[in-house]
Symmetry: C2
Subunit: 298 residues, 2 copies
């Protein structure tokens, strides 16, 4: 609590009992806003840090600042000035093709050799290295599961529809394959139908993967009679839970429906729901199940 | 040898010393013809069995017959009538969406319950079940590695260009990920660039996966400076080597080039080259390496 006052700053509302303001570094999309809204509803003060060219301008409905990609020192400063001791990273970041695009500030320059080494090792290691750098600057990196656990999808079905035994078997196969991929920093999602893996998500992301399944079906390359198959999503096992929480929302339901799938299965308490009310209503309307799976069956 | 005479048939050329004629059941594409040409060049008589709507009509340059998908009994009969004791399956088959599309003949009907069970278990188990059925009818199922080992890509570079250490590291990572996927009957190919898996092949097949990588790069979603990244191809570990030999050819080189990759790495002696001469000339022209990797480094 004292952190909000120590520097005498632009945070006007007092933080919820026992928690300092939370700084939220916003990647792309609407997920950062969903988290900010939820944390804010819980009574904790939030301060959003937007990255120019990446974050959605809707973050401006909360106290915020904007900085350019690469302004690592300023990010730490802004968070501190807002009185935050905790910081959260959420939403998609485009990986730079080239470190020069980052225009690193002095502080980031010092970190660069370490980050470049981590960069070669895939997203997980890059994010972990970034988290370590932030923590060595005196802030604690938090995950969505810590600051907004209510956003995580619990075990069991969310809406009206439930997976049938065939869909459950497909979902379990999907989780096993995601587990097998995890050590290699690949894939938070895939599609299984009739015991067969139809698509695995890598750099293209979830949306393009689901669009591919829709095309494979409409083109007759993959033929499944009726609505069938499951979109399965889970965090990578080695993934730093603080740095990259997978999420689904109404747009996911629309794409799953377009791909002709029967439903969505996620690792319970590991994947967050954005705009859950709309998402569940849309799923019910489309006849699609959304279910949290409590664990992988061998 | 006696098999060719036992039934007094339409095989006129005498088989090479020690080997009966080889029946080749032709899936789609030009791979069946490449195998038939190679076996034939080696002096062994071939008899090609085409499947209407799937096989390329170019198979007609060899002794052949045509049958419809599902005519399992006739396939066995045709192979026997040609004097074959050995049979080879090669080239892509479209999986039927529905068993009714197969119009199974009497012999296949008897096998259906077993095949339907295997179908649920993915391609590998389906193919293994099919191989067992063919063998119980008295034919020996052969693989490309047995009848045309000269088509398999050996360890080392094939053309002028060789992978640099970064490309080798990407290739090794690719083989490790393919190994991890193998038990789940997924993926014979993927693309790795800069230590990161960009794309994993599932039901869409190699061509669409490589087209996706080209799009991801041209769209700026994945940025790799200059020509970089490796297309990695290997058979699934659990894969019945007799039933489904992965292959690359000139078309693969064209797609790898369009995707901006540095080269192609395959599991040595496990992947076949179709029209190797043209393929290597094209790769040399495009500045792309093609290399067989002798084993996965942990």
């Amino acid at each position: 609590v004292h952190a909000g006052k120590r520097r005498g700053l632009n945070v006007l509302r007092s933080p919820a009992a026992g928690s300092s303001p939370l700084a939220i570094v916003c990647g792309g999309g609407m997920f950062p806003l969903a988290v900010a809204d939820e944390v804010s509803r819980g009574g904790r003060v939030v301060f959003l840090i937007g990255i120019r060219g990446i974050s959605n301008s809707a973050i401006e409905r909360h106290p915020h600042s904007w900085l350019r990609m690469g302004a690592f020192g300023r990010m730490i400063e802004d968070a501190r000035r807002a009185g935050a001791r905790d910081i959260l990273f959420v939403g998609g970041l485009t990986r730079p093709a080239d470190w020069r695009e980052l225009r690193p500030d002095a502080r980031l320059l010092l970190l660069l050799p370490k980050l470049v080494r981590a960069f070669r090792g895939g997203d997980d290691r890059l994010l972990t290295a970034l988290a370590e750098a932030v923590e060595s600057a005196g802030l604690t990196v938090r995950g969505v599961h810590e600051v907004a656990p209510g956003l995580l999808i619990p075990a069991g079905p969310l809406g009206t529809y439930t997976p049938d035994p065939a869909a459950l078997a497909d979902a379990q196969l999907g989780l096993r394959v995601l587990d097998a991929l995890s050590p290699h920093d690949v894939g938070q999602g895939l599609v299984v139908a009739g015991g067969r893996v139809l698509a695995v998500e890598a750099a293209e992301g979830t949306d393009l993967m689901l669009a591919r399944v829709a095309e494979l079906r409409s083109g007759g390359k993959v033929r499944v009679s009726g609505r069938g198959g499951v979109f399965v999503k889970a965090p990578k096992l080695g993934q730093d839970r603080r740095m990259d929480t997978p999420a689904i929302g109404p747009a996911t339901v629309a794409r799953v429906s377009a791909a002709g799938l029967a439903g969505i299965a996620v690792a319970a308490a590991e994947v967050m729901a954005v705009d859950a009310e709309t998402m569940v209503a849309d799923a019910d309307h489309a006849g699609i199940f959304i279910a949290g799976l409590a664990g992988v069956q061998p």
